[in-house]
Symmetry: C2
Subunit: 588 residues, 2 copies
């Protein structure tokens, strides 16, 4: 071992000990003949001192050290003259007796500090240097800790981690698969799994009634910001359970993680909200409930007063922004432009100001009396000093726009504190979504999601209105406006499955082609089962108080799906292409 202690562990109680440390030179400075070296390793930073009267050889070596040199240093632990209360090791320093340079370092292309001076591109290229910085180190430590506690909880609850294959079969549905040409089976391909969904259901058929896996998944999508072509899931499935059992088990897991990893108590039981409430009150199926500013429908209150914009739409909704009555005309114009951007897509924005002096000012005061405006504001739970913002149009679309506006304003008002955690379940999703365009129903989750038992009559109805009302035994775990996980109770009954395909307009042949393998497996005694999966990268990021996942992945890819550090993907040899019986059709 090159060291007796790490750079994070020595304290005043160790004074007098002779120790050997090893690590990287964070910085080195001369001060009145003495040399101070900050030595860094994974565990912390310890100050080393070479006294002015030290042997010349030692003074020379100390003077030769550059940033990020790797050294081994031996000396005596002594109490510091000027203590640094910000450092765990700030009460001591090491009076050096010897330095052994283990490796030199070129000057890093950016500073290895809490905040680096390097841009994103250069840090991505030298990821192995960026990973030396505190924020990334803490992110990966947190990730390890969460994974370990997750496994502890699931193991203690009788779950088996079972590894499923990565070289599987391409499926004709859903997002694009990454494929892997097979050399031994020329012309044929494996696919990388988008999730182990099929395999975990097969494991239920096989009787492994509590399965989990922390597992890599792959999706060849056009990447949006903060999406990765490979990502990690906590994938779980249980047999002989109802929705209630799944929710209890996994809010237990989240409670365990919050407590063990962050020391945070989350409510027991967790709040649950129906999908309908979430849409009506938050304009989102993943509501951020860290703050209020909920959406209120005011359609009945505003219609019939001669304002044709409101009279001609099915839905008018509003939110109240606390203390924003004083916003200027310019502010409101800018906000109007903001909601009219294609990303939000509203036609316009109506406001009602409840001024501090008790007066009311609105962009629609031509059509409504001050009392009427105050009544509307009261409906939205606005108080004196608040600003009411109104959007109108088709119901769900307008609610979604209000939801986006709500998040934006909460962000501006500092209401989205990443250290505050507001987890909840969204339940009672509609089973089916009607597509006007295609004139047919689609499964909101997937065609194996079970309808609620109490909605079975509706499910077998011929009426579109009835089918639209069928709720699924599906659930999402939402944290701070992010869908962290989701799942469902699966259909295990062949008749119900057949009805599902019928409702979705999937014929026997098509069902056989698309889902034949799993349907056949189900004929040999499939138990009732259900499960869910959590997005592990995002879970780690949110636990760390961050919105982006990139720093919680050791070696992420950029938005073009490239690893700029290793320069991948890249061309391969013609020999390899030939062995795989492949030719490129790219025009050079």
């Amino acid at each position: 071992m090159y060291r007796t202690h790490t750079c994070g562990e020595l304290r005043i109680a160790d004074a007098g000990k002779t120790v050997t440390l090893a690590g990287w030179v964070q910085k080195s400075r001369k001060l009145g003949g003495m040399t101070f070296i900050d030595l860094r390793d994974r565990y912390g930073i310890t100050q080393l001192v070479v006294e002015a009267d030290a042997p010349q050889e030692l003074v020379d070596i100390a003077a030769s050290l550059g940033r990020e040199f790797v050294i081994q240093a031996t000396g005596k632990v002594v109490e510091r003259q000027s203590k640094n209360p910000k450092m765990d090791t700030g009460e001591i320093e090491i009076a050096l007796e010897g330095i052994n340079i283990l490796n030199k370092s070129l000057t890093p292309p950016f500073t290895i500090e809490e905040q680096s001076d390097g841009g994103e591109d250069i840090r991505a290229k030298y990821r192995y240097l960026d990973l030396r910085r505190g924020p990334l180190k803490r992110a990966l430590e947190l990730r390890h800790h969460i994974a370990h506690e997750c496994r502890n909880y699931l193991d203690a609850n009788g779950f088996l981690e079972i590894e499923t294959p990565y070289l599987i079969k391409s499926t004709p549905e859903g997002a694009r698969d990454f494929v892997v040409p097979s050399r031994m089976n020329p012309g044929e391909f494996y696919a990388l799994p988008q999730s182990p969904q099929t395999f975990k259901q097969l494991l239920m058929v096989a009787g492994y009634d509590r399965y989990f896996q922390i597992v890599r998944c792959f999706r060849d999508e056009d990447l949006r910001a903060d999406r990765q072509p490979e990502f990690t899931q906590i994938d779980c499935e249980m047999s002989f359970v109802e929705q209630e059992d799944v929710l209890n088990m996994f809010e237990g897991m989240m409670r365990h993680l919050f407590k063990k990893v962050l020391g945070v108590d989350i409510p027991n039981p967790l709040p649950r909200m129906s999908w309908y409430d979430a849409m009506d009150r938050y304009g989102s199926d993943k509501p951020d409930v860290r703050f209020g500013m909920t959406i209120h429908e005011i359609t009945a209150d505003v219609q019939g007063h001669g304002f044709s914009v409101f009279d001609s739409v099915p839905y008018v909704g509003a939110i109240a922004v606390e203390g924003a009555a004083e916003w200027s005309r310019k502010d409101l114009d800018a906000l109007t432009e903001w909601v009219k951007r294609p990303q939000v897509g509203a036609k316009g924005l109506v406001y009602i100001k409840l001024n501090a002096d008790g007066s009311v000012k609105s962009s629609i005061d031509k059509f409504y009396t001050p009392e009427q405006l105050k009544d509307i504001a009261a409906k939205v739970e606005a108080k004196t000093g608040d600003l009411v913002l109104v959007l109108c149009g088709p119901k769900r679309k307008t609610q979604t726009q209000l939801g986006v506006l709500r998040l934006e304003l909460a962000g501006r008002q500092g209401l989205r504190d990443p250290k505050v955690f507001a987890p909840l379940w969204i339940v009672d999703f509609p089973l089916l979504e009607w597509s006007e365009e295609d004139g047919r129903f689609y499964a909101m989750h997937h065609p194996f999601t079970a309808p609620k038992p109490e909605h079975m009559d509706l499910f077998y109805s011929d009426k579109k209105e009835d089918l639209e009302r069928v709720c699924a035994n599906a659930y999402d775990f939402v944290l701070n406006g992010n869908e962290l996980g989701g799942g469902s109770i699966r259909i295990h009954n062949a008749d119900v499955q057949e009805r599902m395909f019928q409702v979705l307009g999937i014929g026997k042949e098509e069902a056989e082609y698309k889902f034949g393998f799993i349907i056949n497996a189900f004929k040999f005694g499939a138990p009732p089962h259900g499960g869910l999966a959590f997005g592990f990268d995002r879970l780690c990021a949110l636990f760390g108080g961050q919105e982006t996942i990139r720093d919680y992945i050791a070696f992420p890819k950029n938005n073009q799906g490239r690893d700029v550090m290793i320069d991948s993907p890249s061309k391969i040899d013609q020999i390899q292409m030939d062995e795989l019986c492949l030719a490129s059709t790219v025009k050079e």
Copy 2:
């Protein structure tokens, strides 16, 4: 929840309780008007009884149950009349009050018993049914348990599990990579990792001084028996360590696993054997030391007696087979044929029998007196009643043949008990292997393996004999004749690395092309580091007392790399091929 208890937990103390179980019908039989049903789940089997005087409806349902039907059954726990001491639940049965058929089952294509009547192919096709059998269930439970305890040990020792990418870059060396065409970067490919070697070394450069990962690896090899194109490794690396630290840490891990998982104490410290000893005494770099029968060199003892076969070779070696003096001429002829098969490759087999009556009989008694033969036998530590078997030829080749013969005979004599565990480290590997064919040295492990510090002078020598004597800081963990893991201390010093490339005849340009990326990363302060990787599939199999890994993988592939259950690999759509800018060159 569909059950109050599992099928494995009810005991006599539960008598009188009303319980609900859920599971699969293992079997059902009528006996004097009563129906007995064995209900199975992951946790065990419980006997259910429908009395002769039960309501007709219940009797009818019980009569309708087929094998592998999934049912929910409610009744009272009662003491059994005829107890079954072989079953954990054998003292009780459930007097049924109700049965709810949750799902019917087609008749499975083979029996779901400890020993199935199904052939390998049909069981592979219906893997989800084969996985219901006890041996496979116990295998996957064992695998989960080992992985969990492995993580516990490493976490407790400050290791971080850090996930490395699966979509990486194809490397021009070593075994074939599986590649993944990139749609977003047409004409370019990712590769699936053969191991996370580069990334774990980068993590050391990044300062994460104790890394591990239980990780999938991929190798597109022509498959031999019991090899899988995807396999799992326990991959580990440490910084600021010497070989001794790595060996201590990981024999600690193995000790923890043996104790926690199997309740077995392995020696502390573990035996270590030099590669040279292993080759000389066991004819293998992965010696099975559960039994003796070691190889003895008898070259000097047998040469110069006029037997030209021995006189003309550089090496003569022998083993003593206990109690085998009585083997017949026919046995020995068969054994001679066996060693002459190309898989062993010996030219012939000489024997010396130390008969029970004190006489000696040998195939070479024309050339040696009985006393000389007895002296030779004594050298091989043969006793009266033993058989000495002699092979000769080039040294290492002959030792290897004797090693194979030794294993074969030990197997026949029942000396390879899978419940006996004899782990050890093999150390002091040669750093370099001379290839007569290419007239150059190759790295025995890989070009980043460090020479032993005490062999540095030899390493810088110009003489071939000196270089052949350089030992590496490399080590293998061997269990019962299997190499379960291996690794090395890596070169972190640029000068030593340069010398290594020089010895291997790798020029600057070639080194830059093949290893440039990692060499450059090392310029920014690489710490001394080393590590190892364990083959997790085989570790599980050996812990389970099996020689083949297939049952320790939930969904394995066959020897053609096919998953016959999901029928993969398979053809993909032309649309997919077009999106990937690929054309097949397979002639239909």
